[in-house]
Symmetry: C2
Subunit: 247 residues, 2 copies
Amino acid sequence: MHVPERLAPPECSDCPIRHRAVCARCEPDELSRLETLKYYRSFEAGQTVIWSGDRMDFVGSVVSGIATLTQTMEDGRTQMVGLLLPSDFVGRPGREGSAYDVVATTELVMCCFRKAPFEALMQDTPHIAHRLLEMTLDELDAAREWMLVLGRKTAREKIASLLSIIARRDASLSPGPARGTMVFNLPLTREAMADYLGLTLETVSRQISALKRDGVILLEGKRHVIIPDMDRLLEEAGDDSDGGFLI
Amino acid sequence: MHVPERLAPPECSDCPIRHRAVCARCEPDELSRLETLKYYRSFEAGQTVIWSGDRMDFVGSVVSGIATLTQTMEDGRTQMVGLLLPSDFVGRPGREGSAYDVVATTELVMCCFRKAPFEALMQDTPHIAHRLLEMTLDELDAAREWMLVLGRKTAREKIASLLSIIARRDASLSPGPARGTMVFNLPLTREAMADYLGLTLETVSRQISALKRDGVILLEGKRHVIIPDMDRLLEEAGDDSDGGFLI
DNA sequence: TCACAACATTGACCCAGATCAATTGGAAGC
DNA sequence: GCTTCCAATTGATCTGGGTCAATGTTGTGA
């Protein structure tokens, strides 16, 4: 294992996640207080950020890269319960330990705060507390959407749902409508997708092959995905074309 | 359908959910502001409190009874995504419509606030905003625990998990350890249990019969459940005996 | 007290997805 | 270039839970 590297953090005003992260609503003076507290940490792909049950003495935001939140049963069955993309928040103010394993899926950079100072700051900075509530409510909505996927969708619908979630979140960073043709890199292995969807990796592979055969998706290599028609994919996912997933 | 009845609300200081609901951390003066805004509504078993997509002009807490949050796909498949017990909060400050159907499973009494005044109150009452964040984080934890149940557990484990959740939540109201023998009333039909667990009602019925046959549970009538040994049930649920579900 | 409706149980059969196993493909290291 | 290693694909077979259908139980209102 590798000791996480400390990097010189850039200015908050230049931060790529400035307008989506927990600090999104902060005024310049609040930002400068955060500026003095923050520190960057980076992790390599595959590295565990926090082990379930471990004492967690920091909180933070994903700046770049992707991490997963997973639960594991004693016999080894695992379920992913959260997919952390840039701007997502890690850690629970007011609780000691982590309930989940947090693992870097790609190279990962996080903007961290020691927990005690952050909690103190939250006390007298309603902008932060308010934004955190908003983000937590969004995560709860996403978790509930995901429960419908896990509980009631077929394997094919599950794959289509996952692809549409990733396509939408990708599109929400770069502008442009989430319609028509979309292109993105799949940041997960087949096994990680299986853990996300409550399937086996073989089933994931078969269903991706089937979607490719049926022209719903195109693959360049294993990871580069082209969606020729986003509406078609949403139909395969079992979502009504208007509603569907939150960003 | 029935127009919801308006009841004369009791004093907040006598309220059964005073110490667990969104108002739990309020000081007497804050409570008296809430007192002037609140109104009670009651619903009969089976009545829909809010339809998914409907404009939602109030928020509120469950005072007594049980409600469910469900999502439905166009073809009728439904998944329960939340089980609302006394003290749980309904509604999302900062959003117009409801994303889910909210249905009263039993007779239900709610303590409601019109949304705009409640949001205004939340602005300058950190005790409320803070408690709501705490409750939302707890709900997110519960949703993630549930995702493991939906994605990776067998039908038998799912039933055992549901029974242990209800037993624990029941026990958290009346004092006493969540160990040894436990007794409670099952507030859900077999169909509602199936919607909770991503199963069919036939499978629910078969697995309950199997748990009864194996002595893990005893039934008096269809709804009155006796758990002779809580640890045994937790083992059947696939939870390690110490950890497991949050209250 | 009977009849009806809603809820629940049980049985027979089937199929989507799991499991076990053998290849294939591609990138990294020598 | 060749080997190694790991991700991914594909095939053969099995099985847990779904589906369809009949029957049982309980509570309620005429």
